[in-house]
């Protein structure tokens, strides 16, 4: 099937079997290996990407289903070689240890901040409740998301 969609802000066209999973399309065909496969069944969140600006599991989307839509992966964050405020905040707050969960965690947080630039701690916890981190610790992750939200708000005011 010929797929036409927006990938990280760029319109692209590509031939792929419609029944292929989005995670495999991204990693195998497009060599975007930021999104990770952990469980393959919606439990761990490490494959999270944005589909039309909403966080979804790339392991549970068919390639055919992205035709005509927009997909954003961790590689699409940040502008002109600079890191996105979320990436910076994760580094500065040591919200990363092994890093396996991080791309998914950041994309889940990005999905939240696109809708709500001033989330409460409960709203942050809710947005990342489907993202499992086994080594860094959620306290730092939540702090990082709060700090990034602050940076986004500042950016929005400028």
């Amino acid at each position: 099937m010929k797929l036409r969609f927006i990938l990280n802000g760029q319109a692209i066209e590509l031939e792929a079997p419609p029944e292929k999973r989005l995670i495999d399309l991204l990693r195998e065909d497009l060599h975007l290996t930021g999104a990770k496969e952990g469980c393959g069944e919606g439990e761990c969140g490490s494959c999270t990407v944005l589909l039309d600006d909403a966080a979804v599991h790339a392991c549970l989307v068919l390639a055919g289903q992205i035709d005509g839509h927009s997909v954003t992966t961790i590689e699409g964050l940040g502008k002109d070689g600079d890191l996105d405020p979320l990436q910076t905040a994760f580094i500065e707050n040591m919200a990363i240890q092994c890093g396996y969960c991080t791309p998914g965690m950041i994309m889940a947080a990005r999905g939240l901040l696109l809708k709500n630039l001033d989330p409460s701690e409960a709203e942050i916890r809710n947005a990342i409740s489907g993202n499992i981190c086994r080594c860094a610790g959620y306290t730092q992750i939540i702090q990082a998301i709060q700090e990034a939200a602050k940076a986004y708000r500042k950016e929005a005011q400028l």
Binding site: G42, A55, H57, L60, V61, G64, A108, G130, N131
Partner: protein, 279 residues
Amino acid sequence: MNYAQPKELCQLKEILATWEGPCRFVAGCTDFLAQRNGKPWREENLISLTELQALRQLRAQEGALYIGALCTHGQIAAEDLIRSRLPALAAACEGVGSQQIRNRGTIGGSVANASPAGDMYPVLLLLDAQAMVLDAAGEERFLGIEQLILDKGGTALQNKQVLLGFRIPLPGPYGKSAFGKLGERRVVTIAKLSLAVSAHVQEGIMSGARVVLGAAAPKAFLVEEGAQALNGQPYARRFSCGLGEILSQIIQQRISGRASMPYKKEAVKGLAQDVLEKL
């Protein structure tokens, strides 16, 4: 493998009329792909319903709410009309999986998947919903939600029958409803037991109550004895109507041989308190 993702209902009808062999429909794929994880799979005819904008609509008309089968849990939970008039449905949708699942999983997929632990069917049964079904001949008809789900589990949908959506009678201004579930975790949890309760409360007295127990048997069911215990009683005294005890006895009768029975017969008492609190 044939694959299609029609944008218009007329295109879907054409596919149903012309494609031969079994047709598999998919929506958010949160069940479909999760169930196939790591296994080779093939479908003769795969039809994604995700581009059918007509099935993403939510509208109130003539005292009823129409919810398209493709409405996601997140979309339903955020809808003001549902939050105010059908709080049990809003609560059930809000409690489904994680944000990613709620962004993608649909009410139609949830019902069609017919998991005994699913949260949508118990609430649709509570609210006396009807399912809108399209068949291979292009005919649309309504089917009571109870007839859609079979007693042994699974649905009554035949090959090429698609769920288009649900019609839910909107309760009057005195209608109240609530939903709660118990699982292994507080959030992102599959129900081990769920309970939905509704009642009209006028001048402080409850009437027309409905009580549904989910995840206790292969199919969620109405508990008439529970409804009777609430009817005619003051809303302010709903905690003393013995609902928890009644549900506990029903569980002992219905699933006497199951290993989970001793847990569920006790847990349901606390769940009844929680749900009545939210009512």
